[in-house]
Symmetry: C2
Subunit: 164 residues, 2 copies
DNA sequence: AAAAAAGAGTCAGCCATATTGACGCATCTT
DNA sequence: AAGATGCGTCAATATGGCTGACTCTTTTTT
């Protein structure tokens, strides 16, 4: 069944193993988000909106600049996306309490509902892959991916907190 | 050091674990290709060109329709990319021997050189992550990613052959 | 042999998402 | 009081996708 995906050999830095990893990472990522993309196609939103919604669900109350750092896009690009989501009542802002220059971002109830529908599509697929591969494999999956991140991103990802 | 990335618990299908996987997959993929993107920024080519070059290096002589299936884009989108690469002498076509409707795609020497420079950037980072995580983790990494692919893609990825 | 299907290329036009650089305003820090 | 920071917005541009239609060649089917 899985003969084409042999476990890595002791010489596991050879080109073939690296290419295999690149390809699985590329196709795995694409496959995961494909279902969400399909759902988004029936809405006025796109991937950029989804990513913003995702992190607002993940960390309610994060600031605009925190979101910019996570998405690694420019203020202008994010601005359009946030405007769309706010105009349609999926997202709302509150002025920061400690620092009133900051705008803290929250999903409205409608926003939470929509994000959760999208998340559920990802969850199903990811949960299937986790279950199929087994708990130990999941640890390896995390470990290798974590190794791909530069140090500052490792911290930023580790700091993400689940919102309610 | 890695306290924020605890190994998956027995209840490893809970939302937090799935979100962690989604995030690592997203940031891991982005981080991996970032260096190649930076190099591409100094050329007339972009990500789309890189992806096409990658698969032509991986499977020399693949046909246009095979490449279209792998990239999952339209003929028009690929057409522009291939035209650029052919006009600049990185790619050449040969009429298929068995089926003369087909156009088989090959990298020229210049194309091989350029692709290998890009690949090397990916290779370094991936090899570091493999080495840091260990051989067993790499097996888990592959296993989970493979589980994310639909059946037909699993076959297509398994069929990819390294060219010379 | 004729008809249908498949592989490839191309046209025109459109859309989503990203970019740079500059500027204004409110607020916090020094 | 001066400077730095957080945010929003302007205009212009690039990239890489898309649809739908049409042609040409070659292979397959009837």
């Amino acid at each position: 069944m899985a003969d084409s995906f042999l476990p890595p050999s002791p010489l596991f830095l050879r080109e073939a193993e690296v290419r295999r990893g690149i390809e699985l990472l590329y196709f795995g990522y694409s496959s995961l988000i494909k279902r969400a993309d399909d759902k988004l196609a029936g809405t006025p939103y796109g991937r950029a909106h989804h990513r913003a919604l995702y992190f607002m669900a993940r960390q309610p109350g994060l600031t605009v600049s925190e979101l910019l750092r996570l998405l690694d896009i420019t203020k202008q690009s994010l601005g359009r996306v946030l405007t769309d989501l706010q105009d349609n009542g999926l997202v709302e802002q509150k002025v920061g309490e400690r620092d009133r220059r900051q705008r803290r971002l929250f999903l409205t109830e409608a926003g939470k509902t929509f994000e959760h529908e999208l998340f559920d599509l990802l969850r199903r697929r990811m949960a299937e892959a986790y279950a199929e591969a087994g708990q130990q494999a999941v640890g390896g999956f995390w470990s290798v991916l974590r190794g791909l991140l530069p140090t500052d991103l490792r911290e930023a990802v580790a700091d993400l907190q689940q919102g309610d």
